[in-house]
Amino acid sequence: MLDFFKSLFKPQGSGATAKERLRLVLLSDHLSLAPETIDALKADLFDVFSRYFEYDASQAEVTFDHREREVAMLASVPILRVRERTLPPVALAPVAVAVAPDPPAIAEPEPELEPVEAEAVEAGPAPVAALEPEKLPIAPAAPRPRKRRRKRNAAASNGKAGVQPGLSAGHSAQA
């Protein structure tokens, strides 16, 4: 009986570890991807992220989820704040679009948003830092509103950006 109660309060045993390891190894089996390739993908992904955001690397994770007919990649990246752009926006814009699904716009109370936004803007070296936060939505620079919108979403989801790039591998998953 004691064993049973122990098992109730015990942290996850090796059974859960086995399941997680299997999910990962079967993913690379199915996609014909070496585990190192998946690691490299994660590194690249976080590298791209870090151009846009400062994020909490200790909490960031990329996982793969088996769906009925495909494998979906899910990234969970807690964003600390937005970085100022240092690279040409044209080159980066497609990436930004690709990782941002269009979640329904949530009307966010301004006071919650502003301090973070202001802090990020002030920290940045670019000349836009001079702009008042309130003026940002009507700023002429093309990438600004998008960035701001994402910031809102990030704030709305408790600092976590749920990203589903739809990396589906329908056919190879069946192979």
């Binding site: 009986m1 064993d3 049973f4 122990k6 098992s7 015990k10 996850q12 045993g13 090796s14 059974g15 859960a16 086995a18 399941k19 390891r21 299997l22 999910r23 190894v25 079967l26 089996d29 199915h30 088996h66 069946q174 192979a175």
Partner: protein
């Protein structure tokens, strides 16, 4: 109407394919079906030994394929279950002695007269596997709740899918007390990872070794703990809807008493 042609396969060796084939075959025979078990593990035959008919082999599968004898001459009829037959593998030949087309034709011929033809597949996914699968129209994948067995089972599931064969899963050697303490993957975990419907759950039990030692299918004796489990699996195979017993989701006391009633 031709009988069902089912390959029993696993990828990994030693997970219980042959024991499962023998006991499931015996269970189906006990339920009144005419059953032929085919050992396709050429060069490493064992189904004869598990069934306890090793001394009665006259001809084997390769000799049938090569036309040296009639199928009925090579079939061994079990003395305990008279509707259970074995077509033994050749022991002194290798797997290339038979082609996929020959195997398909042979199993087709057996299915003309039997309700169930269970094909015991060799381990691996090479020539022997392809032969065994070529004769089948559906599959049962046997696995144990261990990472290596499940990974190999996943490969086999993929191969069966490629061939368009419907298939189900038997999870063998579950140890309920380890599942309860989180030290073994649950049946749900195995099903999630392999994304395959479960036909049966068989607890780990010493009586498998004991009955195999003596060459007696354990469904022979209704007092054997696993006998009702194989009979349940046989009924599910016939199409009956019998819910699986969830070994791991029970409380300690019911678990203690229900290990024997699983399936």
């Amino acid at each position: 109407m031709a009988g069902r042609r089912i390959v029993i396969t696993s990828g990994k060796g030693g997970v219980g394919k042959t024991t499962t084939t023998a006991n499931l075959g015996a269970a189906l025979a006990k339920r009144g079906y005419k059953v032929v078990l085919v050992d396709t593990d050429i060069g490493l035959r064992n189904l004869d030994l598990v069934l306890g008919v090793e001394k009665r082999i006259v001809f084997d599968l390769v000799e049938v394929v090569e036309g040296r004898c009639q199928v009925r001459q090579a079939l061994i009829r079990d003395k305990r279950f008279t509707s259970l037959h074995l077509l033994p593998a050749a022991q002194t030949r290798d797997k290339t002695a038979v082609t996929e087309a020959q195997m398909d034709a042979l199993i087709g011929e057996l299915a003309e007269e039997a309700d169930f033809v269970l094909i015991d597949c060799p381990a691996g996914i090479e020539h022997g596997f392809r032969n065994a699968v070529a004769g089948a129209r559906e599959g049962i994948v046997v696995t144990t709740p261990e990472v290596s067995a499940i990974r190999d089972a996943d490969r086999v599931v993929g191969k069966l899918k490629e061939r368009g064969l419907p298939h189900t899963l038997i999870v063998n050697r579950i140890r309920p007390e380890m599942v309860a303490s989180g030290e073994m993957m649950t049946v749900d975990d195995v099903r999630d990872v392999l994304r395959t419907e479960i036909l049966g759950i068989i607890p780990d039990d010493e009586e498998v070794i004991d009955t195999t030692n003596r060459g007696e299918p354990l469904v022979l004796d209704p007092n054997q703990r696993l006998a009702p489990i194989y009979l349940k699996i046989a009924r599910r195979l016939e199409g009956e809807k019998i819910p699986l017993t969830r070994l791991e989701s029970q409380t300690f006391l019911t678990k203690l008493f229900s290990i024997w009633k699983a399936g």
